[in-house]
Symmetry: C3
Subunit: 203 residues, 3 copies
């Protein structure tokens, strides 16, 4: 099996998403079933919702042995070395941003292939990148981080818009994809560094 650098980036993202699900399970003192379920849901939830919405079944993760292995490894590592994993927080944040970017691009590609309108493709990219975390929070009974903290979906939408627009104007696929990924990762990490947030709504 040959792994392209794209596969490697996606695997890093999947790994980071799974760690985030495993961390939620550990913080809730769930058992190993909760650990595995939340790790999988966080890592593959966004892509699963995307596949269901466009009718791409069986959904992708059921036939993606590499991702599933990465998720199980992430869950085990998180459970066994939790205090160590917490110290890797900075790295995981970078991997998570990479995952957000790669998942966004994958979602958009599937939307384009399905012939969906451009804004819907951007939305599908954001759903792919962010709804796994939303499901993690809803299932574990937490208020969705997606709605209240940090620049996350907004980074996906910004980069996704660039990618969709570039594709529409026939930009070189590799080039525009790299730009989009870089924009998403940069917005995400810079916003974390300077603690940027979207304004909260007031009633």
């Amino acid at each position: 099996m040959h792994l392209s650098y794209i596969n490697v980036l996606e695997l890093l993202g999947t790994f980071a998403f799974a760690i985030s699900g495993a961390t939620a399970a550990i913080n809730k003192s769930y058992d190993v079933i909760g650990l595995l379920t939340l790790s999988f849901v966080t890592a593959i939830g966004g892509g699963t919702i995307r596949d269901l919405l466009i009718g791409a079944t069986p959904v992708a993760w059921m036939q993606d042995e590499l991702s599933n292995t990465a998720i199980i490894v992430a869950a085990i590592i998180a459970a066994l070395f939790f205090s160590y994993v917490k110290r890797l927080h900075q790295w995981l944040t970078v991997f998570d941003a990479i995952g957000l970017a790669m998942f966004t691009v994958t979602g958009i590609n599937k939307g384009i292939a399905a012939g969906l309108p451009m804004p819907i493709c951007v939305a599908l990219g954001a759903i792919t990148g962010t709804f796994g975390g939303l499901l993690r929070d809803v299932i574990s009974g937490e208020q969705p981080i997606l709605f209240t903290r940090e620049i996350y979906a907004a980074a996906s939408i910004a980069g996704g818009t660039i990618y969709v627009a570039g594709t529409y104007y026939n930009a070189d696929a590799d080039f525009i994809q790299s730009i989009a990924v870089a924009v998403i990762v940069a917005i995400r990490l810079v916003s974390l560094r300077y603690n940027w947030q979207l304004p909260r709504l007031r009633g």
Copy 2:
């Protein structure tokens, strides 16, 4: 583009559903991502679950530019003019009842087209009309209004049963649809006016 009066009624309903999602987001002090997500989920959640259950993909909202525009406009209006929107409560209640009725009929029509049994068609109508609000409550961490307050799903089921029965006995489609819509809107608004509720269960 020619808009029939049915399209207009559906749009009013979609608008009211989206306002209800936006209101939930504003009450929770979510950010603009939460605002848009809850507005969309409330307005198109029921139809999306319906489409997934019967396998009608890509789900309808992904190709319904008019509804999506109405939802985004509703979210923006709710966010910018929240105190004003609250004063329009009476109108929104009427629009919401119209939405419940139109969504019920749309769901039943899709069930009939899919050749499903009659009681399932009624259920599919109720799912279309009410599960967007259920998703709104579950995602935002609230107890489902659908299960505890007011005559809502019951109105959908009453009108839906009339519609399905009329269709079965070959009643004129426009006629029976108008009756069903009128019944749902009437039950909903009268029950609100007189504060009717279904009895709560006791352990």
Copy 3:
């Protein structure tokens, strides 16, 4: 209509799952809409998620009159005779274990028929057997029992692994299915009897 003993076992399981959903609705003082929704979601939620994931639509429960009748009967019995139903707890626990086992086998059979990898088939069996209860808890705002208490999904995975492995090695279908069902029911009931739990994770 001829009912095989397999149908009877599945119906007992469906009935017990629906009672568990109805009990949750009654404990929350929901109304009759909450009662019916939670009864159905608990009984058919796992199979519905399974069908959606593999693209088997319209999902099974929409065309399964017998199960739907059993669910409605269970909901009515639970609502009218709640104190009596609570005293039948021991029987319901046995029926619930049977349901877990039968649903696991059904889910695996669908996974095999869809040509999915063996570990995914085991997961699909566990999803079929357990995600109805997960949905019940998430919708009603409770922490998922699935993640914190008792040997439940683990029993499904143990029996499911035996069933998938036996099928792979061409064991007699009836024989290996009976073994798997017996293992799941036995693990579930013995673990309840001796109050076994999976270890909880610690941060």
